[in-house]
């Protein structure tokens, strides 16, 4: 290995030396290095093991198309696998390790797979592990079950961190007139043109620096780059470096991921790691460049075999000369300039051109640097076990290649041409077309008119910097002409379709055309077994795999991809797709054009999963909803629980109490004396306007027309299909004003439903509905002493006397502390009870006032669990029962539905299905042996036929302090009367043995409601 850092040159800052660790070893590099550059300069050739065969791999590229140098970065919660060493910026203290190898990448026992490779060809898993289950182990699918863990461990690409992500991520929204993807010569020029014309331009570049290919060119080009970058900045372009446009979507939406801290040794404490941008652009210019394409030949994956473009980048950008004795193999003009530059830097360079004739000027250029040039010669096989040491050569004959000697080298560089990056356009559904003259896929010359997109630069198969800049100029002008304003994402109909590449130079700007060359092999079958020739090194897909796929019938490109995994994963088709397609075309006797290409899909390069989650993690996964008494409840000993997004008190344990003890005490206290409960989470809707009564009457199934002002009524809403939507109450506050309450669960959907009805069905009704759920803080005050407590807390005790505030009465009452309260005598618990609401900011003050009086009577605070107990004892339904499958008759409330009016659901509730006598109806449940307990979710079955879905189900259970045993609510076919003399069990096979239950009326306590009316 003879790669070395040159004494001068490169874009690195030699005054800022950095240290990092590679596989535990301390190494040094410079600010401005990529990890791959620093490793190469350090003499590290083998830095990875391949996915399937565990072959030694080194750096193959210098950018996003890196197929060899995937490493694991960081440790602990910040361990990140499959990091591209070629794009990872070096920072002080960076820790990197080789992956998919044991004990390490240099001596990996898994390399035995390479010897077994003839059994591991494409389709290995399907052939070996797919089979009928009836075959005894260890065959077929059964074998997969046994060996899956081992195989998954052996084949892989590093291990993910096992701890929660230590970093934060942002998600952001951006808007611009023109988005330019790619900050190379074309992109910079396009951005400059659009911004100079006054457009709001975003320029997105995945690299840390602007310049694209300029960054890989000799220092002489730097002046031009700097001048253009300065002009772009001065024009006010918003420049986003370290940002990848990974996806392009409908309506000018681009997905960007901005890497904010991946290059930093010590990120600022509150700095998110990455920001996921949803950018909405009026017009998009794709100046995404082109990727260097390799050629398939034997052992073309050996470390120190890489693209010429990469070697040029390492030379000019990082000041690293990768070899002393370099062989360059090419089929096109682009290798000549780098060949001269590498020779000029001090290497012995041999240039192999597969073509027969070469442009005289190019020949002269390399001859001047003493590059030895051989035409009609190509590499047949790379020699060397762990790193390339020489190349078996092949010479072109009339039909194919013939082996032709060997030449030693320490670096083999390959250029099989260039592949324009058309990924983003392909994501928009535009199929790239094959350009035979330039041997690459390019965008169609005319893009569909509805796409506000154009292409520029090397992405359109222009290979010279000046041509790229000119095409950027044209693209910028197109963007201006076609709108390029965020509010006119759709181009004007009359606008001409975006074209590009018109008047493009011949051969993409090369003197001589490229020779289509995808694979070099001699017709010797033995060659293939020992000289694996890789198409997609990242997934260990070889030329033999492509041919095998063809022989086995997977000739469609989509099948080829899935059968061989060609171009999957982080590679995304960047390296091997064209070679794979060419080989398939050859195998089926067709052309690449006819074979076509697969559709590229986002993301273009990998993005952290955390970026997709953004800040929706941990306690912010969903916003928490707190009642105005939240802190008050906590201060008074509440244990909280979630009810939808709401945090509600679950129970208020006293010393030594657990949940069960607490809720039983709370329920007992409410029935015996008095309790106070936060009920703010109930939905509350203001219904106002001259037609408010009409709306109420139409949406509730029971009659509301004659509800007097100052009275409340329980109501049930049905859906159009006749099933129950929600239940709640409506309080008539005035002739034209109601206050509606809903269940906590359905508050939002009922509100949306009322809005929908008013906006779409009954726009003629003069009614406004407004959610006031947040305006009011509310409590339920329940128990025999409730009235006494309330009387003590109001300014005028007479206002709450029975005659002034009877059952279902509503009144605005001033509390003793001066607060205006809205009070209704309503009961969910079955006790005498009031719901009392005050403006939310005063809710705590109300609680203080009431609690003082409640506590003085040895009352209690009660939570959701006791609330559940009290309502189950009374047979009152909630969302647990009203689950969207239940009719009003099923819930035992059919007599509430008015036969004298039409209401939402009134027609369909009469449909035969909902009228069947044997439908499951609401019932109460008691264990036959009173000491036994049963569970919600159990299935109700005949005791002698415990099977299938049974006869019904249990929706809610509780221990009833009033009855002294467990009780429940549920539904059973035909209702309680049908099961009077039949033994029924609550079958719960997963949790308990079947428990025999009695099926009774759901009104388990105080069925006549005497306590409530008292």
């Amino acid at each position: 290995m003879t790669a070395r850092r040159l004494a001068t040159g490169g874009r690195i800052d030699r005054d800022r030396a950095l240290s990092f660790r590679w596989d535990g070893k301390l190494c040094r590099g410079y600010h401005g290095d990529s990890l791959s550059a620093a490793l190469l300069a350090h003499g590290e050739t083998v830095i990875a093991r391949s996915f399937k065969y565990h072959r030694p791999r080194g750096v193959m590229s210098s950018g996003v198309d890196e197929a060899g140098g995937l490493v694991t970065l960081g440790y602990g919660a910040r361990r990140d696998a499959n990091v591209n060493a070629s794009t990872q910026e070096l920072f002080d203290g960076l820790v990197a390790r080789g992956q998919n190898a044991w004990p390490n990448v240099r001596a990996d026992v898994g390399a035995i797979n390479n010897l077994l490779s003839r059994f591991l060809a494409a389709g290995f898993y399907y052939k070996t592990f797919m089979g009928p289950r009836l075959l005894a182990k260890p065959f077929g699918t059964a074998m997969w079950m046994n060996y899956e863990k081992l195989i998954r461990r052996a084949a892989g690409m590093g291990r993910a961190a096992r701890r929660p992500d230590a970093d934060g991520y942002d998600q952001a929204h951006g808007y611009c007139d023109v988005l330019v993807v790619g900050g190379g010569p074309a992109g910079l020029q396009a951005a400059l043109v659009a911004a100079t014309a006054g457009r709001d331009v975003w320029l997105v570049e995945q690299d840390r620096e602007l310049g694209g290919d300029w960054l890989s060119q000799p220092a002489a080009q730097e002046a031009e780059r700097m001048q253009l970058v300065a002009a772009v900045k001065a024009a006010g372009v918003r420049i986003m470096t370290r940002t990848t446009a990974f996806g392009l979507y409908d309506g000018g939406v681009a997905g960007l991921v901005q890497r904010l801290t991946d290059h930093l040794a010590c990120p600022a404490p509150h700095q998110p790691r990455q920001c996921f941008w949803t950018l909405r652009a009026g017009y998009t210019i794709l100046a995404t460049g082109a990727l260097a394409r390799p050629i398939a030949f034997g052992n073309n994956d050996r470390p120190m075999v890489m693209t010429i473009a990469a070697a040029r980048t390492y030379l000019h950008r990082y000041g690293v000369l990768l070899g002393e004795n370099i062989i360059i193999a090419t089929n096109n003009d682009s290798a000549y300039t780098p060949a001269g530059e590498l020779a000029q830097a001090g290497a012995k360079v041999t240039l192999l051109d597969a073509r027969a004739t070469v442009d005289a000027a190019l020949m002269a250029r390399v001859a001047a640097h003493e590059v030895s040039l051989h035409t009609r010669v190509a590499p047949l096989n790379a020699r060397g076990r762990r790193v390339v040491t020489g190349v078996d050569l092949a010479v072109a004959e009339t039909h194919g290649w013939r082996a032709h000697g060997m030449q030693p080298c320490d670096l083999l560089l390959v250029s099989g041409g260039w592949s324009p990056v058309v990924h983003l356009l392909s994501q928009r559904g535009v199929k790239p077309s094959w350009d035979a003259a330039r041997a690459c896929f390019i965008a169609p010359h005319e893009l569909p008119n509805h796409l506000p997109i154009t292409m520029a630069g090397a992405a359109t198969a222009l290979w010279q910097t000046d041509d790229c800049r000119s095409s950027g100029q044209v693209a910028g002008e197109v963007a201006i002409a076609r709108g390029g304003s965020a509010r006119s994402a759709m181009p004007a109909k009359s606008a001409a379709p975006a074209t590009h590449g018109a008047g493009a130079p011949k051969n993409g700007g090369w003197a001589r055309p490229i020779l289509p060359l995808y694979e070099v092999r001699v017709t010797n079958p033995a060659n293939e077994r020992f000289h694996k020739s890789f198409v997609d090194p990242q997934h260990d897909v070889t030329t033999a795999d492509i041919r095998l796929a063809q022989r086995e019938g997977f000739t469609s490109v989509e099948h080829l991809k899935r059968y061989t995994t060609l171009g999957m994963g982080p590679d995304g088709g960047k390296v091997g797709n064209v070679i794979g397609l060419a080989l398939m075309a050859e195998a089926v006797g067709s052309t690449i054009e006819q074979v076509g290409t697969t559709t590229f899909r986002p993301p273009y390069t990998p993005i952290a999963l955390g970026a997709l989650g953004g800040r929706h993690v941990g306690t912010q996964f969903k916003p928490l909803r707190r009642t105005p008494m939240h802190a008050w409840n906590l201060a008074h000993g509440a244990t909280m629980t979630m009810a939808g997004l709401w945090h509600r008190p679950w129970y208020f344990a006293r010393a030594g109490e657990d949940l069960a003890a607490a809720y039983c005490r709370e329920a007992t206290t409410v029935r015996a004396r008095v309790g106070l409960c936060d009920v703010t989470s109930l939905g509350k809707i203001a219904i106002q306007g001259p037609d408010a009564a009409t709306l109420i009457d139409r949406v509730y199934s029971n009659s509301f027309a004659r509800l007097a002002v100052g009275k409340a009524r329980y109501g049930i809403m049905l859906r159009d299909d006749g099933l129950v939507m929600d239940d709640g109450t409506a309080w008539r506050l005035g002739a034209h004003e109601y206050f509606m309450t809903t269940t906590t669960v359905h508050a939002a959907s009922v509100m949306a439903w009322l809005e929908e009805l008013l906006q779409t069905r009954w726009p003629d009704l003069k009614v406004h509905v407004t959610s006031v759920s947040e305006q009011w803080g509310g409590v339920a005050l329940a128990g025999p002493l409730a009235r006494a407590v309330l009387a003590e807390c109001v300014a005028n005790p007479a206002a709450v006397a029975h005659e002034n505030l009877p059952f279902m009465g509503v009144a605005d009452i001033e509390l003793l502390n001066g607060l205006a309260a809205r009070v209704a005598r309503i009961s969910f618990s079955g006790e005498m009870a009031y719901e009392i609401y005050v403006a939310a900011d005063y809710a705590t003050a109300m609680c203080d006032l009431l609690w003082h009086a409640v506590a003085a009577r040895d009352g209690c605070l009660y939570g959701l669990e006791a609330l559940g107990t009290l309502r189950i004892e009374k047979g009152h339904v909630t969302a647990a029962e009203l689950d969207g499958r239940v009719s009003i008759d099923d819930a035992g409330l059919g007599r509430m539905a008015s036969p004298r009016k039409a209401f939402i659901g009134s027609a369909l509730r009469r449909r035969p299905e909902l009228q069947r006598a044997e439908r499951a109806c609401l019932v109460g449940l008691k264990p036959k042996i009173r000491g036994q307990k049963f569970n919600a979710g159990a299935i109700l079955c005949r005791a002698d036929a415990i099977s299938g879905l049974g006869e019904g189900w249990v929706t809610a259970v509780t221990h009833s302090p009033a009855l002294g045993h467990w009780i429940g609510l549920g539904f059973i076919r035909g209702g309680a009367t049908a099961w009077a003399d039949v033994r029924v069990v609550a079958a719960d096979p997963v949790r308990t043995a079947p428990i025999e239950v009695e099926i009774v009326s759901p009104h388990l306590v105080d069925p006549d409601g005497e306590r409530m009316h008292g």
Partner: protein, 202 residues
Amino acid sequence: MAKSPPARLSALADYEVHHAGESGRLGGVAAGVTVQEVGALVLYQVAAWPESVATVGAQVAQHIGVAQAPGPRCVVEGNVAGERVALLRVEPLKWWVIGGDGSARLPTLSPAQGTTLDLSHARTHIRIAGPNARDLLNRLIPLDLRPPSFPTDRVATTMLHDLGITLWHSAPGFELFIPRGFARSIWENCIECGQQFGLEIG
């Protein structure tokens, strides 16, 4: 004997957020964003019917001393007895009257004209200002906040963390009206996200 009502306690009152301070990217650098709760919100909704929207608008405008009520998505600010009052057109048939001393300043509407409703406790008013206010908001809100699209005195109903909120671009900054129960959660979100810009809690 009745006494005067106790003091209002906002959704953020019991939380340490009110301890004003600075965090994030600071150290001599001015804060990129300031986040503050604007307390004691007075907010009334005035809603009209399609045929009365013009007359109700005129009445409300007259009450706050401006020439005419704002059109859709717009805001005008007036002055009632020395207090600034803002009129936000939040829906085609609805305005929000913010500020002043409440209902006494509202026009009396007959049912045929429209309705009024007190929402003063239904929202928590948070103001986000500073040079990076827009950057912070665009990490929370999917709205084009560039000046041509969302200039001063524009109002929008938008989404913040999957939650419907009202956003008004005022002279001092951006005024967010958050449903009260979510206010603390949203506040925490703003603080957490805002620290990267250097944050001052007002």
